[in-house]
């Protein structure tokens, strides 16, 4: 049954086969996507026609590699900027949230806590349309009442940032809260006792203790933002993020350039994930 108990041979072998099949199921689509990025063919399909780096570096005219594909490069840059701002904003606000719910007491705390959890159970599509509607309502209001046109309220870069921020902050709050729960408050008292003022206590003790969690939360926020599709779909303006851009290409037929982008994404996110893991491990040491 478990590793400390004797197990029958069929149980043990059957279980192993199941796990192997599961991991094949898990990795097959990713592996095949990566492999076909290097296939010397104009379709992302077998048969294998030889190794090529054309889909990365070719400069046209028949094959345009990703590093020369202006539209895709632009969307990658948009996604980077979006993810950067979302990660920054949500980490700052999420940290405030963690401190608020872990350290402060106030009326309606329970209510606010449930409200904070709500974005986890609201489908991303709904978040997208409700923020679209509200920003539109606000925009119309400002235009009708004061005659000013606020471009921030129209679909576009900042609305995407706000839309993603609205639910990623919940995740950050939960990650940082989990770490703050483990914080031993006598450390703060000890620092005060050794002559630190409140500000120094936060900088040298509390934030330093939270640093791994903050970095981890920031990495998670970055990735969540980078790959978000559902919420972004309704808020995106003229600068499409990478997932939106890829979606349009995949829907309308694909070239191995998408495999090349996927390959880069898989390598990139895996290294970010490993980096995150490394931080966590460093912390638990």
């Amino acid at each position: 049954m478990i590793r400390t108990l004797p197990q029958s041979k069929s149980y043990s072998i059957g279980f192993k086969i199941y796990i192997i099949l599961f991991f094949v199921f898990l990795f097959a689509p990713l592996l095949i996507t990566c492999v076909l990025a290097f296939n010397d063919s104009i379709f992302p399909a077998l048969p294998w026609k030889g190794f090529t780096l054309d889909w990365f570096f070719s400069d046209g005219p028949e094959r345009v590699g990703i590093f020369h594909d202006q539209i895709n490069l632009a969307s990658i840059w948009v996604s980077f900027r979006t993810a950067f701002f979302v990660a920054l904003l949500s980490t700052v606000v999420g940290t405030c949230g963690a401190f608020l719910f872990e350290q402060e007491t106030f009326r309606f705390k329970q209510l606010l806590y449930f409200l904070m959890l709500a974005p986890l159970v609201i489908p991303g599509v709904i978040l997208g349309i409700s923020i679209l509607l509200f920003s539109n309502t606000l925009g119309l209001f400002f235009e009708g009442r004061f005659g000013i046109d606020i471009s921030l309220l129209r679909p576009g870069f900042w609305l995407v940032v706000l839309g993603q921020f609205s639910f990623i902050t919940t995740l950050v709050t939960l990650i940082v809260s989990a770490q703050l729960k483990k914080f031993d408050y006598t450390l703060e008292e000890a620092a005060l006792n050794l002559g630190a003022n409140r500000f120094e206590v936060i900088v040298h003790i509390t934030l330093r203790f939270l640093k791994p969690a903050l970095l981890g939360a920031m990495a998670v926020a970055f990735l969540m933002s980078f790959e978000n599709f559902n919420t972004t779909l309704f808020l995106v303006g003229s600068d499409a993020t990478l997932p939106i851009n890829l979606y349009l290409q995949v829907r309308d037929g694909s070239t191995p350039v998408i495999n090349a982008i996927s390959f880069l994404l898989i390598v990139g996110t895996s290294s970010l994930a490993l980096f995150n893991l490394f931080i966590q491990r460093d912390r638990s040491e």
Binding site: C96, F114, A118, F134, L162, P243
Partner: protein
């Protein structure tokens, strides 16, 4: 009781509270109230906006709408159940059966694919399953098939895609909850003469219930609200409810009808989560650790 913590000023409270209130009110509460308001507005014959429940009536009048709605909810439940059935043995294997030295490695391996964008994962499946895809290529070569078969764009492919996409959110809570299950409980049950099935039903499942509930809620919610997978892997005729919402917003530009649909989706998802929590006797705050 006047301790140091309470003697200190209210300043930190306001510093922490202000951004949280701004976030929750401006980006969560007000937008959803606006969604509710918009769903009760229609344009009358003179081109003016008036209050009406017509958008909701429209939903019940058109079978395509409520059929899609029911279908979406049912499929989301099926996907959740399948994901649970597939993930539970895997989580059990990694935490309890695999040699301890592989535990970390296997969990890492398990999480790896989910760091990659959903779109890339779906794209991988498309390359595998379509008519000119890799699976067809091998089946033809091995002589299993004589004609290539379109394996994409049907409900089975879509269900599999949804299971694949949301698996992580089931596996992670299951891993953590099974990790906290003391091996000696299983050993004790074994020692007291239980069969494997009894152990699964009486020890493992009850202990894993918080993880099962939290995983199921998230998977259900993500499947219900998914747009990419049904759109790219399912049939081409808009049979997922989020696609109806998208069509109302972007194609027909009927935001009021779209709002009504959006609100209905929100209600059904909250309702099913609520019922699920009641059935499994869990609390939302407990489920989200």
């Amino acid at each position: 009781m006047k301790t140091l913590a309470e003697a200190k000023s209210k300043l930190p409270l306001f510093i922490f509270l202000t951004p949280i209130l701004l976030w929750l009110i401006l980006l969560i509460v007000l937008p959803h109230l606006d969604l509710l308001r918009m769903s009760f507005r229609i344009e009358n014959d003179y081109g003016d906006m008036v209050w009406s429940v017509n958008n909701y009536l429209e939903f019940f009048r058109e079978p395509i709408y409520w059929l899609t709605f029911t279908r979406t909810a049912l499929y989301a439940i099926i996907v959740t159940f399948l994901t649970l059935c597939i993930s539970l043995p895997v989580a059990f294997y990694i935490t309890k059966v695999a040699p301890p030295k592989f535990k970390g490695f296997l969990s890492l391996l398990l999480l790896m694919p989910f760091w990659v964008s959903e779109l890339v994962r779906i794209y991988g499946w498309m390359i595998l399953l379509r008519e000119s895809g890799v699976v067809n290529h091998f089946l033809l070569r091995w002589g299993v098939l004589r004609q290539p078969v379109e394996m994409l764009y049907n409900d089975v492919a879509m269900t599999m895609g949804l299971v694949y996409t949301s698996m992580l959110f089931m596996v992670v809570p299951l891993l953590s909850v099974l990790d906290s299950l003391d091996d000696s409980l299983i050993e004790a049950a074994f020692d007291l003469g239980s069969s494997m099935i009894t152990i699964v039903w009486k020890i493992i499942i009850p202990h894993a219930m918080p993880g099962i509930a939290s995983g199921s809620i998230v998977v259900f919610m993500l499947s219900l609200g998914n747009y990419l997978t049904p759109n790219l892997m399912g049939g081409k005729n808009s049979l997922w409810f989020t696609e109806q919402i998208y069509n109302q917003f972007i194609a027909s530009f009927n935001w009021n009808q779209g709002s009504a649909f959006g609100f209905l989706l929100l209600i059904i998802s909250s309702l099913i989560i609520f019922v699920g929590l009641k059935l499994t006797k869990q609390k939302l705050s407990g489920v989200i650790q």
